[in-house]
Symmetry: C2
Subunit: 164 residues, 2 copies
Amino acid sequence: MAAGGRQNRKPAQNTHAADGKSIQYGPLEHWIGFNLRMAQAASFQAFSRRSKDIGLRPGRFATLTLIGQNPGISQTALSRANGRDKSTLTPLIADLVRQRLVRRVREVNDRRSYGLTLTPAGEKMLAQLTECARQHEEELDGIVGRRERAQFLAALKKLADALA
Amino acid sequence: MAAGGRQNRKPAQNTHAADGKSIQYGPLEHWIGFNLRMAQAASFQAFSRRSKDIGLRPGRFATLTLIGQNPGISQTALSRANGRDKSTLTPLIADLVRQRLVRRVREVNDRRSYGLTLTPAGEKMLAQLTECARQHEEELDGIVGRRERAQFLAALKKLADALA
DNA sequence: TATTGTTATACTCTATAACTATA
DNA sequence: TATAGTTATAGAGTATAACAATA
């Protein structure tokens, strides 16, 4: 992992202040928005810990999956699928290509664009990360409760969808 | 809002690729971790849109709330409550002080630390942001469904707690 | 020695705008 | 003119390490 970093500690909902009084969260405590942020950060950190030996940042995982699932996808289509500007993809893809995980091929029909595919090494890396994610998901399932899982997932999807 | 920015578009779960084929998300689609990220990003963006006229970045909101709820809190205690390093608080607090929203007072008992409190302008700003957040929460409640709300919130808290 | 807060530095992620090469 | 991708530039957010003042 690079020098700077990603090792956030736990977001501590109820740490005691230095003076011994417990911290008051006020309305934050009861808000979906705030707790969504806390849960997301905690999940991301847990996944980072789990995947840190693989040698690819967790942020690359979604990109690799999307290329794997959509072979030949263009950078613009990929950036749309991610909800990011296309310019943010240039260095990211360059990095994946440099690591020989992704191949870029000029489209014959439209020579402005590139088709992206995984190399065998990319497939292998994706498989490793996917296994990691599967284990991570099992952990999350255990926390949320397998019976509540479907409803929880549905709520998350409704939020992402409706707030578009 | 500053130049760089925060205006992410919607994370588009099912945008069509340029070539007309729909994007495949593969296993991402069914994973809590991924959907947590999407929902959090969407919620954050929606709150940003709602609060952008107030003149304080949404990231300052939690800080302001924590100071308001814990008058006299030290920077170190605040950074722990936030789950961030204390060094990240220095420029943030400096900014809030410069805007006359927060007051810093040397502790008499321990002259290494400062006690943080809101100024009247800070209280007013916090009240505006809180009202904004209340409306935002109503929107989220409407999406999640008022009956499912408690269970959803409980699941988020369990995640943040358990992954500490 | 230990802790509070600051400074210096660096890295990630993201954006906008202007550019090129194609279409 | 319009689109795909690149480059230049910028800003927010975060971290670590070394430091000064104080305990």
